[in-house]
């Protein structure tokens, strides 16, 4: 068996609630164990070295999107990152753009809710639902296609990896555009193409994207973000004419 590695995990520490606290890098040493993920490593640090270290994990299975952070500078989910895939020296920092709670813990909730409200990401349908009778039919392939786009976990990785976002913080980001692509595909949502144009047909929306591909590279769910944004753009160009 190969020798156990001692990982050097450097973490950007800062607690905005503590007066006078300043951002600084702090390095922790952790002995690697087989199958170790950053979830296990960070909890190890909290339990045995520094119990004030702030980070967020919920499902710890790559499903809920709580633990996105910059891992060696790249946005990713910490829970499903095996340390074996990284070098001995690892740097961790919180995702930019979102409000910092402290250390690696960020507040994505208010940002995402703002986005959802701005785009009204729900089914718009005035008809009363009759739940006693058969449900409305849907083509099986269409349902699968909608699910494909519905798989976004709002982790914020695409937002952090987006070049456009750095220049225009009003930009919807891939997360927002993907949502519109999802609802436009869904026949249950009765909004018209013009309605969607109103929401995303400008520089803050689909015409702002500079196709730098940052989003798709970092999406932990491997959503086809670029092709969907391109598709949406073609649709919007047609409507805009």
């Amino acid at each position: 068996m190969s020798k156990e590695r001692v990982l050097k995990i450097s973490i950007l520490r800062y607690d905005p609630h503590v007066k006078g606290d300043k951002p600084r890098m702090e390095t922790f040493e952790v002995t690697e164990a087989p199958g170790m993920t950053l979830y296990i490593a960070l909890n190890d640090i909290r339990k045995h070295i520094d119990s004030s270290l702030k980070f967020d994990f919920v499902c710890r299975a790559g499903i809920c999107g709580s633990c996105s952070m910059l891992i060696n500078g790249k946005p990713a989910l910490a829970c499903s990152t095996l340390t074996a895939k990284l070098g001995e020296e690892i740097t961790l920092a919180p995702l930019p753009t979102f409000e910092l709670i402290g250390d690696l813990s960020i507040y994505t909730g208010n940002w995402m809710r703002g986005l959802n409200e701005r785009l009204s990401t729900w089914i718009h349908n005035e008809e009363k639902i009759d739940t006693d009778t058969l449900e409305e039919k849907m083509e099986p392939e269409l349902a699968e296609e909608i699910y494909e786009l519905d798989r976004c976990i709002e982790c914020g990785c695409c937002v952090a990896g987006c070049g456009t976002m750095q220049m225009n913080d009003n930009f919807l980001g891939a997360v927002g555009l993907n949502k519109i692509a999802r609802y436009q595909l869904d026949p249950r949502d009765k909004r018209s193409d013009e309605d969607y144009y109103e929401l995303v047909g400008d520089e803050d929306g689909v015409f702002g994207c500079m196709t730098l591909l940052g989003c798709e590279d970092v999406c932990p769910k491997n959503l086809p973000l670029q092709s969907k944004i391109a598709y949406l753009r073609r649709q919007m160009v047609k409507i805009g004419k």
Binding site: P34, S52, V58, G62, T121, E136, A143, Y147, E154
Partner: protein, 662 residues
């Protein structure tokens, strides 16, 4: 001002909490929802396999209806369930799924014509009907007679939770994220809301409401290895317990899921076996048919978990540095099926095990998964003993699952209970008795009390380390209150937990002094609460000298209806005590639609209650005499429809059953 008034306070933003919020809001009441995390991060998102509802659209679901779903659920519960609640549930589940479809869940649909499926390790051709094309389809799950589990690939919980949270946005529900309820506010047997702690700033705030609803999910994290999210810590149950008034039901009923990966305990859905996957031992041998010739891998969860454990005890497990495990083989389903219908499973295998499940077997073993027990309520969701306190979802025990819940019945329950409980809460809020009658002084007292507790934790010197105590608790639960239980281990567990509880009163937050965002402080006060919950589980398990559902005693192998056809009710009347008070609530056979019988797994060891036979005779007679339709017969056996809110009383249409709902 540290006090906010509203009509309804909802604690928990999972499927149950959100659906309750939407329901009361639509009835015109103001509501505030508190949650530890943004609602979309709630544990509900992790549900993979699906939601049970007897739509009967797919060919393998033909003939399904509420009656079949009812029978499966009651048998699954080992007759511990409240049969009226089960009836209310099975009648509402099809409505719940149709509502979710209208709100945007992309349920997988029936495709007309032939398709290949794997059943009992063989490829079979299924032919779907033309008229079913485009309706919601279903897959097979354990312990069900029909294919009844509706799904969106293996991201069902995610799709449901997103649709529900989006609906909450549409309804402009006031959601307060990263807020933790740390104590209920109550006086004279009446609950008036909660003290909440802002997890970002540490600020305490009181929310005062006519009705308070706890929808905080399960308590899996009292065990060291669990499929549950890190936030499923039983805090909701502890809040109820700490009032000294509200009670908990059947806390010892803990479900172990057969197939979580080793070592980390992340779940691979029952859909793996439902879709045709099999279990193998160290020799690659498929062992389940030997133990359960009829249902094999798709016997009820508690049964499969026990059989796996038995098999490993015979030396047939695969040795690993993390202990023994078995194999889950889904290679026979083929890559296309896995990449389409089991993609979370595929991701999990790749990310956490570094294997390709289309080519390799998955190392699995039974792991803590679900909490059947919870805050004991009436069918309305209201606590039996604390007025104005409601609970629903996994947090509650209204008692749909008895001693074992069926896969797919839980997400279904969260939504259904949310729909129903919202109506009962709204009814309550319409009445004068719901008026808020508590003084500011009393409210302040509750806030100050909590503030003092927190400060004591921070400022005390040289006390116990919460991380250590908590780890010890998790290990005791795992080793001694697990799949198979016995009196000796359970007694030890209770003694040791009691000792830990005493030590926990002396916890200090080491190293980290902030009263704001401070994970060490959070861990400290939660550990104190979790220990009480753990004691309810262990003590209940020790006292229950029989085996029922997931509660399996090696020293009392038989299900004993004569003595134990009852619910365990625990409470914690004074802060001074170190063990819960335990009482029992009888389950009345004479009013059952389905009197106790044999579940059909293994040998029949039941000790029969004398009323069972009498009631069975009555039921048989009613059935034999009557020439009525199934609804009328059911009504004669056990009327339940009056209990449902009016808007949910309608009959459910199916391809084969059309009605004129009046």
């Amino acid at each position: 001002m540290r006090i906010t008034y509203t009509d309804v306070l909802i604690i928990g933003g999972g499927l149950a909490g959100l659906r309750t919020a939407t329901g009361v809001k639509e009835r015109g009441f103001d509501t505030i929802l508190l949650t530890l995390v943004p609602p979309k991060r709630s544990h509900s998102a992790a549900a993979q396999g699906g939601m049970q509802a007897s739509l009967a659209n797919s060919v393998m679901g033909e003939g399904d209806n509420e009656d079949v779903h009812f029978e499966d659920t009651v048998k699954g519960s080992d007759w511990g369930a409240d049969q009226e609640v089960v009836r209310m549930f099975v009648n509402t589940a099809p409505k719940a799924i149709r509502e979710l479809a209208a709100w945007g869940v992309p349920w997988n649909r029936v495709k007309r014509g032939n398709r290949q499926a794997i059943i009992n390790a063989k490829s079979v051709t299924l032919t779907e009907k033309d008229e079913a094309h485009g309706l919601i389809t279903a897959r097979d799950f354990g312990g069900t007679k029909k294919w009844r589990t509706c799904y969106t690939s293996d991201g069902t919980g995610h799709a449901m939770l997103y649709a529900m949270d989006n609906k909450a946005h549409e309804d402009k529900i006031e959601i307060r994220e990263r807020r933790e309820a740390i104590a209920l506010i109550h006086e004279n047997g009446r609950c008036y809301g909660a003290v909440s702690r802002n997890l970002m700033t540490g600020e305490l705030h009181a929310y005062i409401a006519k009705a308070t609803c706890i929808a905080t999910g399960g308590y899996g994290r009292i065990y060291s290895v669990t499929t549950n999210a890190t936030i499923c810590q039983g805090i909701g149950q502890a809040l109820a317990l700490e009032t000294g008034v509200a009670t908990l039901g059947n806390m010892e009923a803990i479900q172990f899921h057969p197939t979580a990966i080793v070592p980390v305990g992340i779940l691979t859905t029952e859909g793996c076996r439902g879709d045709g996957g099999v279990l193998r031992d160290v020799d690659g041998y498929r062992f389940m048919p030997e133990y359960e010739p009829e249902k094999k891998e798709l016997a009820s969860r508690d049964v499969v978990s026990r059989r796996m454990t038995e098999h490993m005890r015979k030396g047939k497990g695969v040795k690993s540095r993390y202990g023994d495990h078995l194999w889950l083989d889904i290679t026979l389903l083929g890559r296309e099926h896995i990449e389409k219908n089991l993609r979370e499973v595929k991701d999990i295998c790749e990310n956490f095990l570094g294997i390709d499940p289309a080519k390799e077997w998955i190392p699995v073993r039974p792991t803590q998964h679900y909490s059947m027990g919870g805050i004991r309520t009436k069918y309305t969701g209201e606590s039996q003993t604390l007025k104005g306190l409601y609970s629903c979802g996994e947090a509650a025990c209204w008692d749909l699952h008895g001693f074992n819940r069926l896969g797919g019945n839980s997400v279904s329950e969260t939504v259904v209970s949310g729909m129903l409980v919202a109506e009962y809460i709204a009814d309550f809020c319409e009445k004068e008795e719901s008026n808020i009658d508590i003084s500011t002084k009393t409210i302040e007292k509750f806030i100050n009390q909590e503030q003092e507790k927190l400060e004591k934790l921070i400022h005390k010197d040289g006390g116990e380390d919460a991380f250590e105590i908590r780890e010890a608790m998790e290990k005791i639960m795992m080793d001694k209150v697990g799949i198979f239980r016995n009196g000796k281990d359970l007694q030890e567990a209770v003694n040791q937990l009691e000792e830990l509880l005493k030590r926990s009163k002396n916890i200090t937050v080491h190293r980290s002094q902030s009263l704001a965002a401070n994970p060490a402080l959070v861990n400290a006060y939660r550990t104190q609460k979790m220990l009480k919950v753990a004691l309810c589980v262990a003590y209940g398990a020790l006292l229950r000298t029989e085996s029922r559902g997931a509660h399996a005693r090696e020293d009392y192998k038989e299900r004993n209806d004569e003595k134990w056809l009852n619910r365990t009710i625990t409470s914690w009347r004074s802060e001074e005590q170190t063990l819960p008070d335990v009482e029992y609530e009888e389950i009345d056979i004479k009013s059952m639609e389905l009197p106790p019988g044999f579940r059909g797994y293994g040998k029949n060891l039941n000790i029969v209650h004398k009323d069972s036979e009498i009631r069975q005779k009555e039921v048989d007679e009613i059935r034999a005499k009557s020439s009525d339709n199934r609804f009328k017969i059911q009504e004669k056996l056990m009327p339940f429809r009056d209990k449902l809110p009016k808007k949910y009383r309608g009959k459910n249409e199916r391809l084969s059953e059309r009605f004129n709902n009046e």
